[in-house]
């Protein structure tokens, strides 16, 4: 863990250390007991039987799921690449001194954040072809996700800008830079550097939101997991495997985010108060 909360308590003396040791041992016993009980019951119901897990030792099944993961990653990467600059644009717009620009940016951000992404996907699916616009499947997912995520990115970047010491902007203006130049040469680069961990964490949320792709028939991991479970009638095992894949994939992204965070802290850039994660909602697949 990268954070150190030792300022919250006095370093424990011998009695304190003993108490901590006792507390740790008791918690460990209780925890292991609960987990052990659960696993034992699970095995008792036959869910750990070899023949239920045997299908997952075969490469074609993993290939099927990993191709789904590929689709998920593709959609997430596209969305990230598109919504990052868009988000920066709207963040700067919301901080602008020009009132109409500020209003437009604020309106966009507030609406795009509260509108259910599912609705936007329906709009892409139903509304656009009505007017004869037909885009490839991946865009029917990426465009609504971009709209929603650019608003979230905008808020994260804006929080980063606001957390920067005001002296930076004042010094830049004092040196004769135009407000526009101060923003793009001094403020924005530092703000982006300080919120990079939050942005990477938002990527994790984005990866999970790509499960909306089932509505536009986009090949992604969660839907493939459902098709697989319909095929092999092994609901629990399939979903456990899919959960594992998500854990590994998103977990590594989160690990990257926390390493970035410790890096920025070490470089003395104050991270903003707003937390790394602004979860956007996910939607239900139905049969």
């Amino acid at each position: 863990m990268s954070d150190n909360f030792s300022h919250l308590y006095d370093l424990p003396g011998p009695q304190g250390r003993r108490r901590i040791l006792i507390g740790s041992v008791i918690s460990a016993i209780v925890l292991l007991g609960i987990i052990g009980l659960g696993v034992w019951q699970f095995a008792d119901h036959g869910q750990l039987d070899g023949d239920r897990w045997a299908p997952f030792l075969q490469w074609p099944i993993w290939q099927y799921l990993l191709v789904g993961l590929l689709g998920t990653l593709q959609a997430a990467a596209l969305t990230a690449v598109l919504s990052a600059p868009l988000g920066a644009l709207f963040a700067v717009g919301r901080l602008s001194r020009v009132r109409p620009i500020r209003w437009i940016a604020t309106a966009y951000i507030e609406i795009a954040r509260t509108i259910p992404v599912l609705l936007l996907v329906y709009l892409m699916l139903f509304g656009l072809p009505h007017y004869g616009i037909n885009v490839p499947t991946i865009w029917k997912l990426v465009i609504p996700l971009t709209v929603a995520n650019s608003a979230v990115f905008a808020e994260i970047i804006r929080a980063g800008v606001l957390s920067l010491p005001r002296g930076q902007e004042e010094a830049a203006l004092g040196l004769g830079l135009l407000p526009r130049q101060a923003m793009s040469y001094v403020v924005l680069p530092q703000a982006l550097r300080s919120v990079t961990p939050s942005l990477v964490s938002q990527l994790v949320s984005l990866l999970k939101d790509t499960s909306l792709g089932f509505i536009v028939a986009f090949t992604e991991l969660l839907y493939r997991g459902q098709v697989l479970s319909a095929f092999n009638h092994l609901l629990i095992q399939t979903f456990l495997v899919v959960t594992f894949i998500y854990l590994v994939c998103n977990g590594s992204l989160s690990a990257v985010a926390s390493r970035l965070r410790s890096r920025t802290v070490r470089r003395g850039i104050r991270p903003p108060v707003t937390p790394d994660l602004t979860p956007t909602a996910q939607k239900a697949p139905h049969a």
Partner: protein
Amino acid sequence: MFTSTSNRWRAPLVAAVFTTVALTAAGCSSSGSTAVPGATSTAASGSSDALYKNAIVAKAADILPNSTMAAIKKRGKLIVAEALDAPLLSQQDPSNPDSVTGFDADLAKLLAIYIIGKPNVEIVPPASETREALLANGTVDVVFNTYTITTQRAAQVDFAGPYFESGLAVAVKSDNKNIKSIDDLAGKTVIVGANTPAVTAVPEKQPTAKIVSFGTDPEAVQALTQGRGDAYVQDLTLLASDAVSNKAIKVVGQPFTKEAYGIGLKHDDSDFKKFINSWLVKIQKNGTWGKVWKASLGTVVDSKIPTPPAIGSVPGS
């Protein structure tokens, strides 16, 4: 900003490289052929190939100029809205993702052969609330998705057929001796599939039954075996297939409704409707329909080939 040669990047970099290699291997390598438990018998797919070889193709005169069929023939493929996770009806084989087999899937391929000459089908799995819209805006040509014909739907889309008649039946846990049919379900908890006809049919027959709906069939079966409901009401053939692969449940009684499935197509496209209906009559007459049924739904039901329903026999078709 961050140099990639620094030590702290080594582990994530290795992980990234490994993941990319694995994903590329997954994406590029040819699919394996090892059998997976739960697969429908390979004998069935063998006979499907024989079906496609002898499938009828429309005469050039039938394909009217400027009609939907002509456009499909020109495009070279038929775009069908059908599921990928409906065993026996249209199920994708994960070890061979290009292969989608089942009653609906095979009929769609036969229709493609009829129009184009080759079974070129592009599948768009619909969420059930999107079927009418997908037809209306031309994203798909037909819907082959156990699409029940109702008058409300007929106001938005056209139905060719009906091409199959089924019914809702009741499944219970194998050791349940009390429930023998839908009539025993008064006041009980009944599991249904979320967007299936059972959602409305069960309350009609048993207003006091408590309805619990689940998104997919495997979930509903699991819920039944776990005791989250007393019975599971679903299409008879789906239940039969579940009972075959899961000894913990059994089907009781006879189907208590009649569900007529139709081929969904765009509203007011009467040329296409006539075209498909004439194709349906032809394959029913020459036994192809029966062969398709036998290769898919017939594998779990112990009866002879049923008579297909008469075209246009249901309001809305």
